[in-house]
C-alpha cells in the first residue's frame, strides 16, 4: 500500500502538469486517506460501479479530483492512460468530479460543503433499504467554513447515522493562507464532538492509524464518526509542502520532473 501512495502521487503530478491546471496540493494531502479506503477498506467492484451494496465514497472537496481519479484508475474503473486527459475537451475527467461522466464517481461536486449532506442521503437510503453498505465522505478543513457542513453535521448525529464516516483532510491551509488566519475553525475536534460525532484524530499520512480509525468507526453504534486526519498540503513533494499557492496551481514541466524524482 505504501507503494500505492507513491503511484497515486505520481499520477497527481503527471495529470496536473499535463492539464496545465488543477489542484495538486489538496490531492497530495489526501493520498493516504484515499489509498486506505480504495485499497483496503471499501467494499466495491470496479467492474460493477453501480452495485447497490457497494460502500459509497463521496468526495466533498471536489477539487481533489486528481487523487480520486488516480485511485479509480488504479482500481480498474477506467484505463490509467485516461488520467492524462484530465480537464481536456472531451475527457470524462472534469476539473471537478462529475458523477454522470466518470465511472466510480459517486457525487458531482466542486461547490464546497455539499458532500456531507449527500452522504446523509446515501446513509438514510441504506437504512430504508436494509442494506449494510457504509458511507465515507472526504472533506477539507477549509471547506468546513461552509455553513452547510454544520447543518449536515447536526443532521447526521440527529439521525444517528452510525453507517457514515466523515474524513477531514486537516492540512490547515486554504486558498488565501493558513486556516487559522483566514477563518479559524478551532477548537476543531471539539466542534465535531459537540455536534454529536464520535471523533478520532490521526496522522493522516500514517496508513495504519487511518485503517485503525476506520475499523473503530465500524463498531461505534448510534452516532457517526469523524476522523480528523492531520495532514500536510502538498505532501511528498518538497517544494509543494505547506504551500497555499499549490492549492490550485499545476506544476511546470521542470517542477513536475523534480517532483517525480522525489517520488521514485
Amino acid at each position: 500500500m505504501q507503494e500505492r501512495t507513491k503511484t497515486l502521487r505520481r499520477h497527481i503530478i503527471t495529470m496536473t502538469e499535463r492539464a496545465g491546471s488543477g489542484h495538486p496540493g489538496g490531492s497530495l494531502s489526501a493520498v493516504e486517506l484515499v489509498t486506505a479506503l480504495y485499497f483496503h477498506v471499501l467494499r466495491h467492484d470496479p467492474q460493477n460501479p453501480n452495485w447497490p451494496d457497494r460502500d459509497r465514497f463521496v468526495l466533498s472537496k471536489g477539487h481533489a479530483a486528481p487523487v480520486l481519479y488516480a485511485a479509480l484508475a488504479e482500481s480498474g474503473y477506467f484505463p490509467v492512460a485516461e488520467l492524462l486527459t484530465l480537464r481536456q475537451m472531451g475527457s470524462r475527467l472534469q476539473g471537478h468530479t462529475h458523477m454522470i461522466t466518470t465511472p466510480g464517481v459517486e457525487m458531482s461536486a466542486g461547490a464546497l460543503g455539499q458532500g456531507l449532506s449527500f452522504g446523509i442521503g446515501n446513509a438514510l437510503a441504506a437504512r430504508l433499504d436494509g442494506r449494510d453498505y457504509r458511507v465515507y465522505v472526504l472533506l477539507g478543513d477549509g471547506e468546513c467554513n461552509e455553513g452547510q457542513v454544520w447543518e449536515a453535521a447536526m443532521a447526521a448525529a440527529h439521525y444517528k447515522l452510525d453507517n457514515m464516516v466523515a474524513l477531514i483532510d486537516r492540512n490547515r491551509l486554504q486558498i488565501d493562507g493558513w486556516c487559522c488566519d483566514v477563518m479559524n475553525t478551532e477548537p476543531f475536534p471539539e466542534k465535531w464532538r459537540s455536534f454529536g460525532w464520535h471523533t478520532i484524530e490521526v496522522d493522516g499520512h500514517d496508513l495504519d492509524q487511518i485503517i485503525a480509525a476506520l475499523s473503530e468507526a465500524k463498531i461505534i453504534e448510534g452516532k457517526p464518526t469523524a476522523i480528523i486526519a492531520h495532514t500536510i498540503k502538498g505532501k511528498g513533494v518538497s517544494f509543494m509542502e505547506n504551500k497555499a499557492e499549490f492549492h490550485g496551481t499545476a506544476p511546470t514541466s521542470e517542477q513536475a520532473e523534480q517532483a517525480l524524482r522525489e517520488l521514485e
Binding site: V58, A111, S117, F118, L124, A126, L128, Q148, M154, Y159
Partner: protein, 313 residues
C-alpha cells in the same frame, strides 16, 4: 364564483396515495410540514419522512443523496426557501447530476400575502427554468396539482413544482387531463390569446367572459408546464389569433412571458403584451389586494387584451 379548493391539500393527499402505491417514495421537509401538508405523508409513513429542520441547503443535499440510491424524493418548503435559499445546492447536487428529486414548493408568488416581500417568491420560476434538465410546472388548481404530482413521481429527473398558499378557484373540470409539456386550451377564441399560469388562468377565463360580450373572442391557454415549453401550441395561437398576452404571478424577467416571447419572436412574430410583476419587490397585504396592486386581475386582462387587439395590423 367558482368553487375553491386548497392546492396544498391536494398535494398532501396525493403524496399519501403515492406513498402506499410506491415504497420508493421518500419525503423531506424543512420544518414547515404543516404548511406544505407533507405532514399527512409523515403521519402515514413516518419511516419515509425526514424533517431536516430549518436547513434547506442540507435538505437538498440529502434529497440528492437519497435519489442517487434509487429513491424518488419529494422535498418541500416555501418557494422562497426552496429556490433562492439553496440554489447552489439544487444546481450542483441535484441539477448537474439529473437527480430524481421533486422540489414541490408551496407559498409561491405574492398571494402569500401578509408575510411580506421576504416570503414572496417572485423570481423562483426564472431561477428554476434556468437550470438545465429541470422540468418546471405551475398547476392552475387543486385538480391539476394532483395530476401533476402523480406525473412527476412517474417521470425520472428533477422537477420544480410551484403551488400557491391560498385556496384556488377550480378551473380544470373532472375530465381534465394533464400531460407533461402540453399546454391546455381552456377556451377557444380567434381574436387574441392569453397564455396564463397559476391563479391567472382563472382571471383569464373571467376576462374572456367579459370580452365575449364586447365581441372579442379570447383564447385562453393554461401553460402549466413552463419548461419544457409547448412551442407548438404557442406558434399555433400566434398564427391563428395574431396577438398574445401572457399572465403570471412572477417578475417580468425569466418567467412565462420571457419564454413565450422567445418562441413567438423566432417562429411567428405578433403583437404581445406581458402581465407580470414589474421590476419591484412587493409588500404586505392580503393576497387579493396585492394581485390588484400589481394589476394581476381579470379587469387587468380585459384592458390588456383590448389594447393588444388594437395593435393588431
Amino acid at each position: 364564483m367558482a368553487e375553491e379548493m386548497s392546492i396544498r391539500n391536494a398535494y398532501g393527499n396525493t403524496l399519501v396515495e403515492l406513498g402506499s402505491e410506491n415504497e420508493n417514495i421518500v419525503v423531506l421537509d424543512a420544518d414547515l410540514s404543516r404548511s406544505t401538508m407533507t405532514h399527512l405523508f409523515a403521519k402515514e409513513f413516518p419511516d419515509r419522512f425526514f424533517d431536516c429542520g430549518v436547513a434547506e441547503q442540507n435538505m437538498m443535499g440529502i434529497a440528492a443523496g437519497l435519489a442517487a440510491c434509487g429513491k424518488t424524493v419529494f422535498a418541500s418548503t416555501f418557494a422562497v426557501f426552496a429556490t433562492a435559499r439553496c440554489y447552489d445546492q439544487v444546481r450542483v447536487s441535484i441539477a448537474q447530476s439529473h437527480q430524481n428529486v421533486k422540489i414541490v414548493a408551496t407559498h409561491g408568488g405574492i398571494t402569500v400575502g401578509e408575510d411580506g416581500c421576504s416570503h414572496h417568491a417572485i423570481e423562483d420560476l426564472a431561477l428554476m427554468c434556468a437550470l438545465p434538465g429541470f422540468t418546471v410546472i405551475v398547476p392552475a388548481d387543486a385538480i391539476e396539482a394532483a395530476q401533476v404530482i402523480r406525473a412527476a413521481a412517474a417521470t425520472h429527473g428533477p422537477f420544480y413544482i410551484r403551488l400557491a398558499r391560498p385556496k384556488m378557484p377550480i378551473v380544470c373540470g373532472d375530465h381534465y387531463n394533464f400531460a407533461m409539456g402540453k399546454a391546455v386550451t381552456m377556451r377557444g377564441g380567434g381574436d387574441a390569446t392569453v397564455i396564463a399560469i397559476g391563479i391567472m388562468v382563472d382571471r383569464a377565463l373571467q376576462a374572456a367572459d367579459t370580452l365575449a360580450r364586447e365581441g372579442i373572442e379570447l383564447r385562453v391557454i393554461n401553460m402549466s408546464t413552463l419548461k419544457p415549453l409547448d412551442e407548438k401550441t404557442i406558434v399555433k395561437a400566434a398564427e391563428e389569433t395574431g396577438a398574445i398576452l401572457t399572465a403570471e404571478e412572477h417578475l417580468q424577467h425569466g418567467g412565462l412571458g420571457s419564454g413565450v416571447a422567445q418562441v413567438v419572436a423566432k417562429h411567428h412574430p405578433v403583437p404581445m403584451s406581458f402581465m407580470t410583476i414589474k421590476d419591484v419587490f412587493s409588500s404586505s397585504g392580503k393576497g387579493g389586494e396585492l394581485l390588484e396592486k400589481h394589476g394581476l386581475t381579470a379587469t387587468g386582462v380585459v384592458e390588456e387584451v383590448r389594447s393588444l387587439v388594437g395593435r393588431k395590423p
